[in-house]
Amino acid sequence: MAKFQGKASIGRQGRRDFLKKSAGAALTGAFATFGILRKSSAAEPVNIGGLYPVTGSFAQIGQGCVNAAKLAVQMVNNAGGIKSLGGAKLNLIISDVQSDPTVTRTETDRLISGYKLSAIHGCFASALTLIASEVAERAKVPLLTGSSTDQLNKDRHYTFTPFARASQFALAQLQMAKLVSDKPKVAVIFENTAFGTSTSNGLREQAPGEGVEIVMFEPYSAGLTDASPLINKVKASGANMLFPVSYLNDLILIIRAIKQVDLKIAINGGSGGFVIPDFYKNVGGLAEGLLGVAHWNHDIDADAQKVNAAYQKQYGEFLFEYAGGLVAQTFMIADALERAASTDPQKVRDAIASLDVSKGYAAMCPGGKVKFGPDGKNIYAHPVGVQWQRGDLATVFPKEEARAALLKI
């Protein structure tokens, strides 16, 4: 078993180093555990779990989440820890769930039984989070997540979702089409996977209600060798806006192919791979002016900007939606621990359920307020529309939360 233990303050590890260790462990079939132990303090530390894929296909986003999770714990501990527990420090137990549902199940189980967790956050990817949430429900340990699938709000009592749901994303994306044109004619191209199909169906169902005409609705095989034929088709459809529902590698090809055929079309790439720093690194200037939707953005309030500055200093890129959101989640857990004055997961769960904040890092969400309904949904949650501007993501929608003017292209 590969184990990395150290103080939270030295939790800054090179990404390559980290991957080398974790991939090495994965190769030998061992599970990688990265626990961060507090050195010495009067009070017993509080164990919280962080489940993120840092190897496998979701690794890009997962690695950023781990970095942010460490930063968040450091912030809570530096501010004096949990005062009602005698200044107890948070002890973050991170596990690599390897982008694999089976590993996610066993790792969630192992972490809960092995470390007496008070709460968990993770895994960002819906397919993995659904499984981690099942395990946490059975073990009666509260789980907070930035994952957007609506399924997480069905028949669950220990799962809490502070951010916008998938159904809200589609609506926001359609409403944003009006920013570009009074008569939006949209082409939807989506990869023929569960993610692509469900997202695109959400768009199609809600389009008529928002006055958006869908002129092309086309699935494609994920893992394109060449996007030109697809873009050739988009061009022929006469659309003035394109919604690609794709992961990063296909997106890169799509964006480049559009440029090659000189197609003037507004693009809204939704969320996920479209709103992470890696996207800009790969398409560069072509990203300029492209629109997206996010459940969190680093410019939404002064607290977010502060955390973003700290993260940027340490990791050299901006704090993206999942990473920023889970800093807020860590503070929600800290707030609950403070009020519960106990590390018992049941009491922590009840304290999360009665959370009601409108300031501080725990409220660092679009809308600035968190209060969970009976289904575990934050009743104030909604997504924001973002636009790539000079290599950065700026919030441009809804109007009352816009932090930058829309860049017309």
Binding site: R15, T225, I252, R256
Partner: protein, 289 residues
């Protein structure tokens, strides 16, 4: 309509050129050494990373790095044949399959370790430019890749047909035992065949780099098409693999355009199925090699 059709055909031909470089390598190794190289795609990946690092560290244009990736992979191929493949040749199919399949897994995982799963792209001055011919767009990076791929295929054809070594390779491909009886040194011929095949994979990698992102699993995207082309064009037939690759590129593009964007591969596999039903030994089974 006609314009759309022409554009679809152009798109198909251009990507078909890349399929050809990969599939010619596979078919060459199969024809001469009689072994299926499941790791061929991973050598394309290595070619891409060579070009990527030469471009980002030394500012060398990905197309020029062809002159480095090809010789490097040629040497890798010779070593691969000499130290690994040679040892399993007498052992039958299973050890051969395990060898190249294990090599594929190994290379993907080593790449994950060294380079992480990140996508890497190289921005060149011609990455997003296109030539406009009437209403048809021909992306420059893909056009260059196609022309170079065809030139390399042509060179290989000349090599196979007019040099002693090339003729020896064809002889070994047609009938290994008789070729050996005629005094052809199989070790040498096999080393060159695998070396040339890997050099082609390296060329494919360098040619892809200006318009396709590199990542550890990228080889698998192209190797599937390559295997179909190899079977379609008759196993071991270099010209067949070339023509089949171009046909598949066009079929895929037309399928996407006129059937559905998720039907490109369906059209390709339908073509494979029909061919296997009507001409079990592939489209060029009856032709001379």
């Amino acid at each position: 309509m006609l314009e759309t059709l022409a554009q679809a055909v152009v798109n198909g031909l251009l990507i078909g050129g890349i399929y050809a470089l990969v599939s010619i390598g596979v078919t060459l190794i199969f024809g001469v050494v009689k072994i299926v190289n499941f790791a061929q795609g991973e050598f394309v990946m290595i070619g891409m990373y060579i070009s990527f690092f030469l471009a980002t560290r030394f500012g060398i244009d990905p197309l020029l790095s062809l002159f480095i990736s090809m010789p490097v992979l040629f040497v890798v191929g010779v070593l691969l044949q000499h130290f690994l493949i040679r040892r399993v040749l007498a052992l039958g199919d299973m050890p051969q399959i395990f060898l190249t399949f294990a090599l594929s897994l190994l290379l993907v995982n080593v790449a994950l370790l060294l380079f992480t799963a990140d996508y890497r792209t190289v921005e060149t001055s011609y990455s997003e430019t296109a030539i406009h011919l009437g209403g048809i767009y021909v992306p420059v990076a893909k056009l260059i890749a196609f022309v170079v791929a065809m030139a390399l295929s042509g060179t290989l054809w000349v090599f196979l047909h007019s040099t002693d070594l090339g003729k020896a390779m064809r002889a070994a491909a047609q009938n290994r035992d008789v070729a050996m009886l005629m005094g052809i040194n199989p070790d040498r011929v096999f080393c060159v065949a695998v070396g040339v095949a890997l050099a082609l994979a390296g060329a494919a990698g360098s040619l892809l780099m200006p318009f396709y992102p590199a990542y550890p699993m990228v080889g698998q995207v192209f190797v599937l098409m390559a295997f179909v082309a190899v079977v379609l064009g008759t196993l071991g037939n270099v010209t067949g693999a070339l023509i089949a690759s171009l046909m598949m590129g066009v079929a895929e593009s037309l399928g996407i355009q006129f059937v559905g964007a998720d039907s490109g591969l369906i059209v390709v596999f339908l073509m494979l199925l029909l061919t296997l039903a009507l001409r079990p030994s592939g489209l060029f089974g009856g032709w001379t090699r």
